[in-house]
């Protein structure tokens, strides 16, 4: 009997591969631009669209979702067809997936540049794009599961499990974290507030790393590394253990992003414990990858593909060791809010994801085009520039991070902060930022060489869009065959397998999130904490729009070095009306949690804030903050006030009934007061400007717990 003939769809693989390179270059260039702003703050040219607060989400989203995302789809669309001996389920779905994903990327970049953001890291997309992401993601999953169901092989290779876990988990994470109530087409408030928003956000954030940057790439490693080395994975058994252990443990580790924060301590400890346990499966995977090359190290010397992969897997091992170490509370006390986190993330992004992508492409492009790589020498140059780039990127940041953290914590013998001026601790490490930018520049230079090499390779080759293959049809077997073990039977049942994977993942998520809603004691109510006034609410939304959280935290940890510098440590009950929370994860500038406390060390008068937004360098010559002078000329849009108040009421914020109708009266009254206060300092600023709202918000920050008596009540005229 003749085996049926079918055709692999190589065109879709090619499209994703080109998109990977295109967005990779763009995303990295934006990253370099952001890095240079640390050295020359003037590089923003004093316009809104180029400030770090807007550029950073473009960089992170472009690299994660555009570069790595398209890289993942390239590898999945190629390997899944070969592993299942089947063409992709549906060509139309493939095309919708491809073009839908590119559309999302373009919309994301534009919306971030225009300040349309939710202010939640790695989940900054506003609700209409979030819905589009969910739809396109389902198209991807549908196409993938359809292919798995109509496969011609009995066995589901380990790589496919990783793909399935990626699809299922990212879908759940994305939906749960993105639930929000729209204020307008471009603005929404998340349903969670404060501590709960933080927990959901970092449950998402950490697992975005786990299930977007790790599991799909482990799947790619288990396919492309053996293929490139032409030998089977070191231990298939270990790969099975690796998979189950990894998906079970990863989902619990999110709270390690919130150590020493206002998150309840039990949740922090849970995150730490599971983070440490994660070393085991992660290193199991790394060892499995590296040992696949046992006896083939001579090939590594010759083949740039394997060089890239070896460094990628090594970087995976380094960052999965470093991550758990940073989750230890004593280490985190130093590493958190510093560039250590940034260095750590880039070992993963540049080393693991970047190098595995390029290793894969250097193997895949010649295969797709039936040719050899245009220049091995050029590929080797790319490899060495990239490796050197990673080292020059990460090492200075580690150095600078520890320097800065120690400066934050240093006391004089008299018990005073040695460096009470935050800016001193930034100026100290500027040379490290410069070296980092050189490292990033080297890496991008390597990538550009890679792009040239691939274009040349493509030109010499002959592409076959539909590659013929043949394999016997799969005999459908329902139940377990005699002597067949349960896992083997399960491997033939993708849908059941997917459901089980969801169950495993959800257990981790539920045990951490559900209790937070059930125990009221997790958010101790503070009677003096009240909702934001309408003007402050607008100011807060501008704070989110400008991405202030990318450089300023709002979370004072309970250390003497922090309470001395910033004031009373942050309490969970202070954030109950914060939709979204704005704790931040990095301090390029000082913490702002107590910015408004008049008796505090951080306090600045209204006039200072006005001057500072206009021209930070006029007040501190060495400041690296960009100018936000458009806040001074932009008119505040108060037409949305009513809707904002209504949405907040819906989310449980206790504004009185009908307040949305009179909220603008309070807003104008408060704005006029600030305007007059500025006038008293000799600054002429109309009350209808955005800067007024931002000042109102900054002056409110952290003040509620210092109030004597009850919380602010509405309308404002009812307060004495």
């Amino acid at each position: 009997m003749e085996n049926p003939t079918f055709y692999y769809d190589n065109k879709i693989v090619k499209s994703f591969a080109y998109a990977t390179l295109f967005w990779g270059v763009i995303g990295m260039l934006v990253g370099l631009y952001a890095a240079l702003q640390f050295i020359w703050p003037g590089l923003t040219f004093n316009i809104p669209y180029t400030t770090f607060g807007r550029i950073r989400p473009i960089h992170t989203n472009a690299v994660i979702f555009a570069f790595v995302g398209n890289g993942m789809f390239t590898g999945i669309y190629y390997s899944l067809q070969r592993l299942t001996k089947a063409r992709m389920f549906n060509d139309v779905l493939s095309k919708v997936h491809f073009w839908g994903w590119q559309l999302i990327i373009v919309l994301a970049a534009l919306s971030f540049a225009f300040g349309i953001t939710t202010g939640k890291e790695y989940a900054e997309l506003e609700w209409p794009i979030d819905i589009l992401v969910a739809l396109i993601w389902v198209v991807f999953g549908w196409n993938m599961l359809g292919t798995i169901i109509k496969r011609r092989t009995q066995h589901i290779y380990v790589a496919i499990w990783f793909y399935i876990a990626t699809f299922v988990t990212v879908a759940i994470l994305h939906i749960v974290n993105s639930i929000a109530i729209p204020v307008s087409l471009f603005k929404s408030y998340p349903i969670y507030a404060g501590v709960q928003d933080a927990l959901v956000q970092w449950w998402y954030g950490h697992n975005a790393v786990a299930f977007f940057l790790t599991t799909p790439y482990l799947g790619l490693m288990y396919y492309f590394l053996p293929k490139a080395a032409n030998r089977p994975v070191y231990s298939y058994k270990l790969s099975i253990i690796h998979f189950w252990a990894l998906i079970f443990l990863y989902i619990w580790a999110g709270p390690h992003h919130l150590l020493y924060s206002s998150l309840p301590n039990w949740a922090q400890s849970l995150g730490v414990v599971f983070s440490i346990m994660l070393i085991a499966p992660s290193w199991g995977g790394m060892v499995n990858g590296l040992l696949t090359l046992r006896g083939a190290w001579d090939k590594v010397r010759e083949d740039p593909v394997l060089k890239f992969m070896v460094v990628a897997v090594t970087a995976y091992g380094m960052s999965t060791f470093e991550g758990p170490m940073m989750s230890l509370k004593s280490v985190n006390a130093i590493s958190h809010f510093t560039d250590w986190t940034v260095g750590h993330a880039h070992i993963g992004a540049l080393g693991w994801n970047g190098f595995l992508t390029f290793g894969m492409l250097y193997w895949l492009i010649p295969v797709l085009f039936n040719t050899k790589i245009y220049s091995k020498k050029l590929a080797n140059t790319h490899f060495w520039l990239g490796t050197l780039g990673i080292i020059m990127y990460a090492v200075p940041l580690y150095w600078g991070a520890i320097t800065q953290a120690l400066m934050w914590k240093e006391f004089t013998p008299e018990g005073m902060l040695r460096y009470p001026n935050f800016l001193e601790t930034v100026t100290q490490i500027i040379p490290m930022y410069a070296t980092r930018a050189i490292g990033g520049g080297l890496y991008i230079t390597g990538v550009l060489f890679g792009v040239v090499n691939i274009i040349k390779t493509v030109k010499t080759g002959k592409f076959v869009g539909d590659e013929a293959a043949s394999a016997p049809a799969l005999v459908k077997a329902g139940g377990k065959a005699a002597g067949e073990s349960t896992h083997r039977w399960l491997e033939r049942k993708p849908v059941l397998f997917m459901i089980l994977a969801v169950v495993v993942i959800l257990i981790g998520g539920l045990i951490e999130i559900v209790p937070m809603y059930l125990i009221r004691s997790n958010i101790p109510t503070i009677s003096s904490v009240g909702p934001y006034t309408p003007l402050e609410l607008h100011g807060r939304d501008i704070y989110v729009r400008e991405g202030c959280y990318t450089c300023h935290s709002q979370m004072i940890r309970p250390f003497r070095s922090e309470t001395e510098r910033y004031g009373e440590y942050s309490k969970a009950g202070e954030f109950v009306y914060d939709h979204p929370f704005q704790w931040g994860s990095k301090r390029n500038g000082p913490d702002l949690a107590r910015e408004g406390v008049v008796t505090g060390r951080q306090y600045k008068p209204n006039s200072w804030h006005y001057q500072h937004m206009l021209n930070p360098q006029a007040l501190n010559v060495q400041s690296i903050m960009p100018s936000f002078k458009w806040l001074i000329s932009n008119k505040l849009d108060i037409s949305t006030t009513a809707r904002k108040v209504k949405v907040m009421q819906f989310l449980g914020v206790p504004y009185p009934e009908g307040y949305d109708k009179i909220a603008n009266q309070d807003l104008i009254k408060q704005a006029t007061e600030i305007s007059e206060n500025l006038k008293a300092s000799g600054i002429q600023c109309d009350p209808d400007k955005e800067i007024i709202a931002v000042i109102a918000y900054l002056q409110r920050l952290g003040t509620d717990i210092t109030r004597t008596g009850p919380a602010v009540s509405f309308p404002l005229s009812s307060n004495k």
Binding site: Y223, Y236, A468, S470, S485, V504, I507, P515
Partner: protein, 54 residues
């Protein structure tokens, strides 16, 4: 609070269930024949048979 205890204990029961399933699968030789599948991915795909000329 009752719901909390219920949830945590339920989750732990399921988690332990997975652990037992894993230990069981190792003990029953679940993964003994895993070599073949790891090698099969390296095989080149069969090309369709050339048309038979009469």
């Amino acid at each position: 609070m009752g719901v909390l205890i219920l949830l945590i204990s339920f989750s732990i029961v399921v988690a332990v269930g997975f652990l037992l399933a894993f230990i069981w699968s190792v003990r029953t030789g679940q993964y003994d024949d895993e070599y073949g599948d790891s090698v099969r991915i390296l095989f080149k795909d069969d090309k369709p048979d050339p048309p038979v000329s009469m």
